[in-house]
Symmetry: C2
Subunit: 432 residues, 2 copies
């Protein structure tokens, strides 16, 4: 059963149709949607009632190739077959930080790619993790496709370290640095998100198929484009803005002399995210772009590894104070049985009391009692399918710290600092 | 015969004695010399007529070890045997830019090494080049003793490139980066200067003896300390200020986590020189200090090679406009015989008409006629022992360029932008 069987179905279908009709990020469509909503915007586009002439032209060209409603229906069926879902701003799962992209529209630009930086109207998602929560504490690690062994080593270990500390590693699924970043996170048993420039049913490049399969199994594949969409060249540049906006910072590990990294980092900076670059040997062509970025843009931070990256992204938001050490750790407040259950908790996927009892070597009733305690103390959270570590605990902290009320709210994924949205804990964030 | 047989002899001897009596760079001695001159300052120190209590104590301790006049005489005799000379502010050969060090004294500091940053009172020099002219267009290339193959490669090729373009490469004569820098310059047939923290008769480290021999043969060995002085640890830090002040910029190629590089670059910056750092692999311990410097000090420039370094040092002083291309080159104004003579000119050491005739394959009379023309046009200069390329020509420029009168003055080594000093062309800059 798909998530479309809900009250927002017409909205969702309109959003999908709009992404088929006009390339995601279009500034004129964004303005229309803000004013009229997705359904009326689609009607207007279909009626040719469009103030922007350029937009009117591109819409009428696309309409010759098919019907948006039909295209949306086909895409939705294709996604259903694949187990993919649509996530829209109507969902709790929507990562609200990508809506910050609207601020980029205020920056004047002659360049079309730089102009069409509106937030996506919807995202296609494949994988078991809840999107918003997964992206909440995330860092992008991106770089050259033709990476060197040095760059791949740096990207892998950086991503491993981030994942180990509960940070989600976001990248673009490309060869080279992107692949190393995803692999590093997977190796650490952490969450990784591939933001694609084509349909989630046909991730590009083909050679990374087994990597994509692993990501879809334990992480997330995300795309603005409908299933079936081709990885056309300019889409990579459009896609990059989502990587910049979805994460708390972007680390470029290797970049040749002329790369798209500069654009991504400029946008990240404009959005208040942290732009970071890893230097390398001056003798390496794959570090020329990195050094150029560091020379030309004083706002870009030189980072050499995990501590520097954490220093950058950890300084955004008051829920990211330095990881507490010492008294606030679980074993300081838990009895020995609760501690055994705590130690048996899976990091990423929920487990039921039976599985936990088997893993902990305790009887199920004791486990359920201790789970109740752990949940009250905020060490674990209940999810569809069982219990799992609370996000912050996963990151090495503890929920008992007394730093005001903001922290527990953030813990539950509520968008306290962001615009609108339901603040209640989502009960079934993942699709069936 | 030594250069001491001159009118300034008492001054010189007093300066040498002062450097024996008190470590070079002492701020209190500097103030006394400015007020009373070297001879009266020495008298006052010997009489105990010293306002600074700390200085009085250190002087009386040193006096127990010997007599300053005797120490000076011994050092001068030792230098004579070695073919070394004393250069003082009374000489045309004095590099006036090191006097800028007095500005550092205005920066408050609790640290003794940071406090005693006064200009040297005299310099011991060993080697065939005139000191001021050699240091006029110079860049320091320094770094870790325990350099990696990467760092040595970078330092060598950077120094080679600088030397090839007529820049003097200054370094400290240490193992690792320093040695690579000197070697790179020597390989290019360029000028290199080792600024030592001990007597020029006993350069440290011993293992670099053959390198020092080559430097003394075609470049310069320079020290503030009397011949015979030991390379005591703190002297390296005192010495570093001279490297920072004497050059137009300092490039740190590799530096471990805690290195003296930060101090040198801070001073270079305070003096208006260009502080530069070469990044490296983040996996290398020998680049940790470099990356730290780049992260902590926004005024330090990341440089990856020769073009970046030239961009920095070339922007200081109006005689350093971009190397002219096209019409202003010798072959545009010279007849073919003059061109042949021009091509036969040595870069660094003067050659007489006979040697040039042999080299050019022309008769001596023709050569002398063309030399006269070349000299009038400013392509060559007359020196003791013959003719050589004019400094700017050596660097790829041409003297015919019409950019006002400042350029020819700078060409002749006159300190137009610096304090005082004789502006006339030096007729015998090099020692016998």
């Amino acid at each position: 059963m798909t998530r479309l069987a809900d009250a927002h179905r017409p909205l969702r279908i309109a959003r999908v149709a709009l992404h088929w009709l006009v390339e995601p990020g279009n500034a004129a469509v964004h303005r229309m949607v803000r004013r009229h909503g997705p359904v009326r915007t689609l009607d207007k586009l279909l009626d040719g009632d469009v103030p922007d002439q350029e937009l009117r032209g591109s819409v009428s060209a696309r309409l010759k190739a098919g019907d948006p409603y039909e295209a949306a229906a086909v895409a939705i069926a294709r996604a259903d077959d694949l187990g993919a879902r649509i996530v829209t701003p109507e969902d709790d799962e929507w990562p609200r930080q990508v809506d910050d992209l609207k601020h980029l529209l205020e920056i004047p630009s002659d360049n079309r790619i730089d102009r069409d930086t509106a937030p996506p109207l919807c995202l296609w998602v494949r994988g078991p993790l809840p999107l918003a929560e997964t992206l909440d504490r995330s860092v992008a690690v991106v770089g050259a496709r033709a990476a060197t062994a040095y760059g791949e080593h740096v990207a892998t270990s950086l991503a491993f370290g981030l994942a180990e500390r509960g940070w989600t590693v976001v990248s673009g699924g490309a060869y080279g640095i992107d692949s190393s970043a995803h692999r590093g996170a997977l190796t650490a048993g952490g969450a990784t998100v591939a933001v694609l420039a084509c349909g989630v049913d046909r991730p590009y490049p083909m050679g990374n198929t087994s990597l994509f399969d692993r990501i879809a199994e334990t992480g997330l594949m995300v795309s603005e484009w409908l299933p079936g969409a081709d990885p056309v060249r300019h889409r990579f540049l459009i896609r990059n803005r989502v990587i910049a906006a979805a994460t708390r910072g972007t680390v470029v590990v290797e970049a040749a002399a002329r790369s798209g990294a500069s654009q991504t980092l400029r946008r990240a900076h404009a959005l208040g995210r942290r732009p970071m670059v890893v230097p390398g040997p001056v003798t390496s062509a794959m570090s020329v772009g990195c050094h150029h970025l560091l020379r030309e843009h004083p706002q870009i931070r030189l980072v050499t590894g995990l501590p520097h990256v954490l220093e950058e992204v950890g300084s955004i938001g008051n829920d990211l104070a330095p990881t507490p050490r010492g008294p606030d750790r679980p074993h300081d407040v838990l009895d020995s049985e609760a501690m055994v259950v705590f130690d048996a908790m899976p990091r990423r996927r929920p487990a039921g009391p039976d599985a936990l009892a088997a893993r902990a070597g305790l009887d199920v009733r004791t486990v359920m009692r201790k789970l109740s305690l752990l949940e009250q103390l905020g060490f674990v959270v209940r999810r569809e399918g069982g219990y799992m570590l609370a996000p912050k605990v996963r990151d090495g902290g503890a929920p008992t710290e007394n730093e005001g009320g903001a922290r527990p709210d953030r813990e539950s994924g509520a968008p306290t600092e962001r615009e609108g949205g339901a603040a209640k804990e989502r009960e079934s964030g993942a699709p069936a």
